[in-house]
Symmetry: C2
Subunit: 435 residues, 2 copies
């Protein structure tokens, strides 16, 4: 009975684990027409972005729809790193018709936009901020039924095909926020590694960094039995519930795959084994973080992306200034994990070990430094910009970056270590230059 | 590009991964009344067995229903190790009312019976054999919508809360068969480790063996890209698709938990940490085998259970002769894995290593023998009956056991090694005595 008190405490609070249906394999996106027939779809809303609409992933899906006689309408105006305005345009498109199934072909921006279009067209009476996370929105629970949504991810990063999260830039506050509810999770994710062959080198790198941070943040997130509040009614519980024994399995496994394959995937666009493996890793990490949550890297990334002035992202076919999501997330990772390590040093040491560091002689107190060094080396090897400074930020911008992080409490509260505005300020400062 | 051909071949065929929603934690079954309210349930069908109906797991659920004003009707006549007759009784109960949600509180027998009751009451026109696996049944695909089903497992073994499988004894052939379709998978599994404290010692052992074999069989199952046939329409694909990179994660993890906690869970009913861990392991293994499948141990277990004459199972409150499912599965495991090892020796060596064997000096050719020895020692330590002989079987029974295995092709075809009736005969013979 010695262990009982500990275990009762371990289990005191609640956990729910949600996973998506995933189909994986080369060429599986060619089958989507049959899936839509099986769903008896009469009028499909197909969403993508302008660039992808000319590329193979969309062509393959359209051919399958045509072959199976599935009627659809195409919306190809998704914005890369979407905003409230771009979300609303997609929502209007969906509201102006009566679709019975939604299909998203693209990266996280497309899938997230399609989730929002499905949600609001099924709740035509709702105000846009009703379902947006508090404190920016009202964070109301979603009670009505949505239409089926099939997601076909074309990047290996977002994991959006597995999650109930849709992120956008709320322009009035220059900060990213989102909608988080299991209700908007895709019905089926079709993970076709052939699609990742069309990713430019920097898209592969940045989306891979998103996978890396999903895995690291969810693995080090506040444990599920320590988070609060704990709403008594299950329907009111957050999608992000802290690290737990199930999400740990996914997060750790994703980290192993990143360690083994990410550099190969970035460096050789023809390395199908590496790119397929990263595509699956994005699913693994998505299921991990979709249940455990992310914390400071993601919370701080939103103002980094939202306050962009002039940075133009290589490899992205967009005309507006852009800090790609994965890049905005990973640049603070050395500082963040150095900061969080004291709360769960074993997990930080284990992460460093998985990423290739020799940790045998190290003590718990070394955990933050070694993981930070390992991450810096990893970023350097992959030729990542040298910190926030390289994106055009200076020390003068830190107050705005901190201010933009405050509303991200939904994720930052999952940090294993509590933090003040001064702590955030120091984390941004430490991330100005990496090498 | 060197690896490309290999990878294309790896990915040539198709895979889909389905997981269930699971809520896990001490006391979570007390919340079920709120879940049912959230589902707007007006008339709930609650299924359990006679023995459990007097025990805490059912009491806790009933209290929650009453507290939340949820109306229900109770069916407590589920048979442990159900038959076509007992399934039909439960189906009739469900058809004679109009239920909008189903709740199963019990082990695999209860959950499986409830799946069948939900299925056939939603398809009142169907003949019982319509959805039963071929060749015994017609194996028709399920196209209609079912009612939500919430499963509250009270044993740590079945994994039925995560799978689309319902197993029963088809009495005309004295062989187990089942229904397998993602459509019958529970909507939500409520995994409350407090329930496992009421499991008698032998129920803990036998259900743990089921977890062990789910993990071992799914990890060694024929790889997903080697199975056939491969129906072009996704809706016609089998639930069991062979081992794959996602199910491998679950199967391997479950095996680690079994190795660490199973003996403790069996020996000390108060060891909540061990029993909780095994409860989660049954979920992990369930997701693994629910997608990859099982093979020979399960295929051969059905006639072992179905042909029982006089064996009375300790710790089970039933009046009929019974070979508990987990016991019927595990007794052939040393012989089976000795037989299958040549097809994937690395996986067999890894399994032996996880279960505690020192495999450093071993060669691939030793894999079968070392895993068989490791399993025999594991069973001996847990005081398992000494083979099929101890259940009352003799060599004279082998033809009947082989005959009863033949219709289990749905699972036996997932064996990594092809086999003749003579092979099956030798596997039964080698399982007559273990120590």
């Amino acid at each position: 009975m010695a262990g009982r008190d500990r275990v009762v405490s371990l289990l005191r609070q609640l956990e729910r684990m949600a996973s998506s249906n995933i189909r994986y394999g080369e060429g599986v996106s060619r089958e989507i027409g049959m899936d839509l027939q099986n769903l008896r779809a009469q009028n499909v809303c197909l969403m993508t972005d302008r660039n992808l609409s000319r590329l193979s992933p969309v062509k393959v899906v359209l051919e399958s729809l045509t072959k199976n006689g599935v009627k659809y309408k195409l919306f190809d105006n998704v914005r890369v790193e979407p905003t409230d305005t771009s979300f609303k345009e997609a929502i209007l498109f969906a509201k102006n018709d009566s679709f019975d199934v939604f299909v998203a072909v693209g990266g996280g921006s497309v899938i997230d936009t399609c989730k929002a279009a499905n949600l609001y067209s099924c709740h035509p009476e709702a105000d846009f901020l009703d379902f947006v996370n508090a404190p920016i929105g009202k964070g109301k629970p979603i009670t009505g039924a949505l239409k089926p949504l099939i997601a076909v991810p074309t990047t290996a990063g977002t994991g959006s095909e597995t999650t109930g999260v849709a992120i956008f830039d709320y322009t009035p506050l220059k900060a990213k926020t989102g909608i988080a509810s299991r209700a908007i999770r895709p019905t089926l994710g079709i993970v076709d590694p052939m699609h990742t062959l069309s990713m430019p080198e920097r898209v592969t790198a940045n989306s891979g960094f998103d996978v890396l941070c999903h895995a690291l943040e969810s693995y080090t997130a506040l444990p599920y039995n320590q988070r609060s509040p704990c709403p008594p009614n299950p329907i009111n519980r957050p999608a992000y519930q802290g690290s737990n024994p199930i999400s740990d399995v996914w997060s750790r496994h994703a980290l192993h795959v990143v360690a083994k394959y990410m550099k190969r995937a970035v460096r050789d666009p023809e390395d199908l084994e590496a790119r397929s493996s990263m595509h699956l890793a994005s699913v693994f990490a998505g299921i991990g973080f979709g249940n455990a949550g992310v914390h400071l890297c993601h919370g701080m990334s939103y103002p980094i992306a939202g306050n962009v002035k002039t940075h133009s992202a290589k490899g992205y076919s967009v005309e507006h200034p852009l800090v790609p999501h994965g890049l905005s997330v990973v640049l603070t990772s050395p500082a963040v994990f150095n900061f969080t390590a004291p709360m769960c040093p074993e997990r930080h040491l284990e992460a460093a070990h998985i990423l290739g560091a020799d940790v045998r002689q190290l003590k718990r107190d070394d955990a933050g430094a070694v993981l930070a060094d390992t991450l810096r080396q990893f970023l350097f090897d992959l030729q990542v910009e040298d910190g926030l400074g390289a994106l055009g930020y200076s020390l003068d911008d830190i107050p705005a970056l901190v201010k933009g992080t405050i509303p991200q409490e939904r994720v930052t509260k999952l940090s294993p270590r509590g933090h003040t505005e001064e702590d955030l300020s120091q984390l941004f400062q430490a991330s100005m230059k990496l090498y």
